[in-house]
């Protein structure tokens, strides 16, 4: 099969999987079926709590299981990434609940931005550094910079958005390179991992651009995207 078709197929599958899991979560908890008006704050809190619990659980699981993989350090870095992110979310949620207002620039931003550095390290440890950078890797990185620039122009906070944009763009470039090297037989199993990274970056950008219920939906999709990142890496470097 052509590599482009494979990539498109993986993207569609990833999106379908994410939407499907989200649908199951919603219907199982009767949030949609009840038909009642959902309080945004409550729903956001529920999603974040699910996110925090699942991320910490996955993180510990990954560290324990990392010894069974071909690249334990890359797996541990990914575990650190999700635990760092979960810690940031925990801080944000606690602040919101205790101080009755969301924090402006806080330790949560430090954790969320810092968590990108772990996954960038993880990508480089998988061996993508020694290969050529395809044009679409630059395109992904450029697209993120442009979107973040637009967000800065619309909402301000230029420095904060710049701090977000730098690791996101680097990660997008890494993921693009990863997709490129997945043509090789050696890296073929890592293709879903790199696609998952691109999809989660896309959800993250959409979270920046959305408000209210749409934000919650993208937050939930992003959570599932990150979980699929973890599972695909584990499968990709597993024996």
């Amino acid at each position: 099969m052509n590599i482009n078709k494979k990539i498109t197929g993986s993207c569609v599958l990833n999106l379908a999987l994410d939407c499907n899991i989200l649908y199951v979560i919603f219907t199982k908890t009767n949030i949609i079926l009840k038909g009642s008006v959902i309080d945004f704050f409550v729903l956001e809190t529920v999603v974040t709590v699910i996110q925090i619990i699942s991320f910490f659980t996955l993180g510990f699981w990954l560290v324990i299981k990392s010894k069974d993989t071909k690249n334990p350090i890359a797996v541990c870095f990914l575990a650190m990434r999700i635990m760092c992110f979960a810690l940031g979310s925990l801080y944000y949620e606690l602040f919101y609940l205790l101080k009755k207002a969301p924090p402006y620039v806080s330790a949560a931003d430090v954790a969320w931005i810092g968590s990108f550095y772990f996954i960038i390290a993880s990508c480089y440890l998988l061996g993508i550094k020694s290969h050529k950078t395809p044009f679409y890797a630059y395109f992904f990185a450029g697209a993120i910079v442009v979107v973040m620039l637009i967000i800065s122009l619309l909402y301000g906070h230029f420095i904060l958005n710049l701090l977000w944009a730098i690791p996101m763009a680097v990660l997008a470039k890494c993921a693009g390179e990863g997709v490129y090297i997945s043509k090789n037989e050696e890296y073929k199993r890592l293709l879903p991992f790199f696609i998952s990274i691109i999809m989660s970056l896309f959800y993250e950008l959409m979270m920046f651009l959305s408000l209210g219920m749409v934000y919650v939906i993208f937050d939930a999709l992003w959570t599932v995207g990150i979980i699929s990142t973890v599972l695909t890496l584990y499968k990709g470097v597993g024996d």
Binding site: F77, A107, A111
Partner: protein, 207 residues
């Protein structure tokens, strides 16, 4: 309270003892002293940023203190890690020494300003903030040991580790800054983390 006087009082015997001990003990003592120095420095930086930003004492503790303290605590370790390329054991014991030195001096300052008559206050102080600083230093040490396996990732990894420790510190400060049950949860957090940490490390070693 004169933190500088207290600093001199604590650090003088350590400096005198420094040349008379050898190898591992000397390194531990050196990092213990650097932990104490870093604590004093962080008090200055916190006060400076509090004055510049105009934030209240509580807000400074939640927003600024974790960043300043964790950056300053990581600096001696990072220097040691990058310049001397130590073994994992040396790096780990150095991280412990920095954390313990920092926590010791901070505890001394608090006890001097708030009094040491109440045993429950002293215990809470020692088991919460004291343990928290040690936990953060331990995490930084473990993180640097991981990074040492892939030197080219040093800068990226150090940023990630810093983010982790800053956020953990900020969560602790946030919890103890609010009155009521939350404060007790905050006090229990470092000890609970330490217990989980040791159980987890044991599990990894067994598996």
């Amino acid at each position: 309270m004169y933190a500088e006087n207290l600093f001199l009082c604590i650090i003088m015997p350590l400096i005198v003892a420094f040349p008379s001990v050898k190898s591992e003990s000397r390194r531990f003592l050196g990092f213990l002293i650097s932990g104490i120095c870093v604590c004093l420095l962080s008090a200055y930086t916190n006060s400076f940023f509090m004055a510049v930003s105009g934030l209240s004492y509580d807000d400074t503790a939640v927003f600024i203190t974790p960043v300043c303290e964790e950056i300053l605590k990581l600096l001696p370790l990072l220097f040691y890690f990058l310049v001397f390329e130590p073994s994992p054991d040396s790096l780990f014991s150095s991280a412990v020494a920095v954390g313990v030195g920092f926590a010791t001096f901070e505890n001394c300052c608090y006890l001097l300003s708030s009094g040491a008559g109440n045993i429950s206050f002293v215990l809470i102080r020692g088991l919460s903030a004291g343990v928290m600083h040690t936990i953060c230093a331990l995490a930084a040490g473990y993180g640097l040991i991981y990074i040492s396996k892939v030197k080219q990732m040093a800068a990226i990894g150090a940023l990630g580790i810093l983010a982790l420790t800053v956020t953990y510190h900020a969560v602790f400060n946030l919890l103890v800054s609010v009155e009521g049950i939350t404060r007790y949860v905050g006090f229990a957090l470092p000890l609970a983390t330490a217990l989980c940490w040791f159980a987890f490390i044991k599990k990894i070693k067994v598996s």
